[in-house]
């Protein structure tokens, strides 16, 4: 009897360890637990600049602010809130980027640019339905396009964080529903979105956005089940000396 109890305890402990280790690295980020290489690899010290005039994000499940990560050479990506240029971790299933450009420049050395000069059904795609994409970056610009009524509903139903609520309420107060711009600067909204998702709130499955300009320190994507994790139907890779 005592042996059975000990076995049950051991199994329970093993299950706890397995469930603690098993889930995505996002768990560690949420709890603030330090992870040496949260992306699963050590990023280059210089970020890649990702731009797209219009884009679509599917299943945005995580927005975490102040998520600096270690870089090759011993440095770290910037910390702090997004408004101060801090690193944000975005987790989503898939992103479609129209006329995408992914580039890294090293002064006096080179510019490497990966482009996809197409849009809509020939847009660059990272991730996939049911896939997992994690992106650590510093947002320069990003406008997300959500109906004001959706934002308000989300705030009323899910947002418990007073500070975040004030930010969203302020954005909503900028205009009546009919006058509200379809797209809103996401940078000041990111802490609110982070709080919203942390509280269990959900955004629409498809979030349209525009004017993306983000310094990406690390991006990992896995669409799973044999699907492409990165697709550039009109791809070009160009290296030019600087």
């Amino acid at each position: 009897m005592r042996a059975c109890r000990a076995l049950l305890c051991a199994l329970a402990a093993a299950a706890l360890v397995a469930t603690a280790v098993g889930p995505s690295r996002l768990a560690g980020a949420v709890t603030g637990a330090p992870t040496a290489t949260p992306a699963g690899f050590l990023p280059a010290p210089i970020p890649v600049t990702v731009t797209a005039p219009t884009l679509r994000i599917r299943d945005l499940v995580a927005v975490l602010v102040d998520q600096p990560i270690a870089l090759a050479g011993g440095g770290r990506s910037p910390g702090g809130p997004p408004s101060a240029g801090g690193t944000v971790l975005l987790g989503f299933a898939r992103i479609d980027l129209d006329r995408a450009r992914i580039a890294q420049s090293r002064a006096g050395e080179f510019t490497l640019a990966i482009t996809n000069a197409a849009a809509a059904d020939r847009a660059a795609v990272i991730g996939g339905v049911g896939g997992e994409v994690e992106l650590w970056g510093v947002v320069n610009t990003l406008d997300i396009c959500l109906p004001a009524s959706t934002l308000r509903d989300l705030v009323l139903r899910n947002l418990g964080d007073a500070a975040a609520r004030r930010i969203v309420a302020g954005l909503l107060a900028d205009g009546a529903d009919s006058k509200a711009p379809p797209c809103t600067a996401a940078k000041p909204l990111l802490p609110a979105l982070a709080a919203l998702i942390r509280q269990g709130g959900k955004l629409p499955a498809l979030v349209r956005a525009r004017d993306l300009d983000i310094e990406v320190y690390a991006l990992r994507a896995n669409a799973g089940s044999g699907a492409l994790s990165l697709s550039l139907p009109a791809g070009r890779l160009l290296v030019t000396p600087r």
Partner: protein, 219 residues
């Protein structure tokens, strides 16, 4: 003129060496051998094809690979004054891979004449990936293709950590620069400007052929 009516010396000449015919056949052959020979000397054609100067264009209908990596690397390039300089290129490395048709066009000059060395292989069936290209490496300046990468894809991985097991590890990149690593890759309709290409089994490519064409030709 009939043979019966020909002089003795003319009859004798008709059985001698026909130098014009020999020259006609010999010059292109010698030219071909010289170009191939210099290619072999430059980078051992069976293993790799390197262009210290000039332009090599590559065209293939597709590449399917496991283990796909991209990093930035400095490549030595000859300049017009006879020296050389280090020029950044994208270095692409793959593990087990198959290519669907291959054409390389190296525009160069021989004895002051523009010629193009064309290296071609593969069949005309667009559905077959008939060329083994395991452990292929390419130094490229410009690639256009329909690009797909599968499995785990890592973007902005430190270039020094990008590795392909079939190549023995690192791509020997520029320190602390961009890297991309993917479990698999599927590229279609590839057009590239290449500095170096290394296919370990180049001479076993089906329908492998080398031709030298006058002028500047493309694939």
């Amino acid at each position: 003129m009939s043979a019966a009516g020909a002089s003795a010396s003319e009859v004798q000449a008709s059985y001698g060496t026909r130098w014009r015919v020999v020259a006609f056949a010999l010059i292109p052959t010698a030219l071909l051998l010289a170009v191939v020979g210099s290619a072999v000397a430059a980078g051992a054609l069976a293993v790799s094809f390197a262009s210290a100067s000039g332009t090599v264009s590559l065209r293939t209908a597709g590449l399917n690979a496991e283990d796909f990596a991209v990093a930035v690397a400095s490549v030595s390039v000859a300049d017009v004054e006879g020296g050389s300089s280090e020029v950044p290129h994208a270095r692409i490395g793959v593990g087990p891979a198959r290519i669907n048709g291959l054409c390389l066009a190296h525009q160069t000059s021989m004895l002051g004449l523009a010629v193009t060395l064309l290296i071609e292989g593969g069949d005309s069936d667009p559905s077959t990936f008939e060329i083994r290209a395991d452990a292929l490496t390419l130094d490229v300046r410009d690639v256009r293709a329909e690009i797909g990468a599968g499995g785990e894809v890592q973007v902005n991985k430190n270039g020094g950590d990008v590795a392909v097991a079939a190549l023995g590890g690192s791509l020997d990149p520029t320190a602390r620069s961009f890297g991309l690593q993917a479990s698999t890759a599927r590229l279609s309709d590839i057009n590239a400007i290449v500095r170096n290409i290394a296919i370990p089994d180049l001479l076993s490519v089906p329908n492998f052929r080398i031709t030298v064409a006058p002028g500047s030709r493309t694939c």
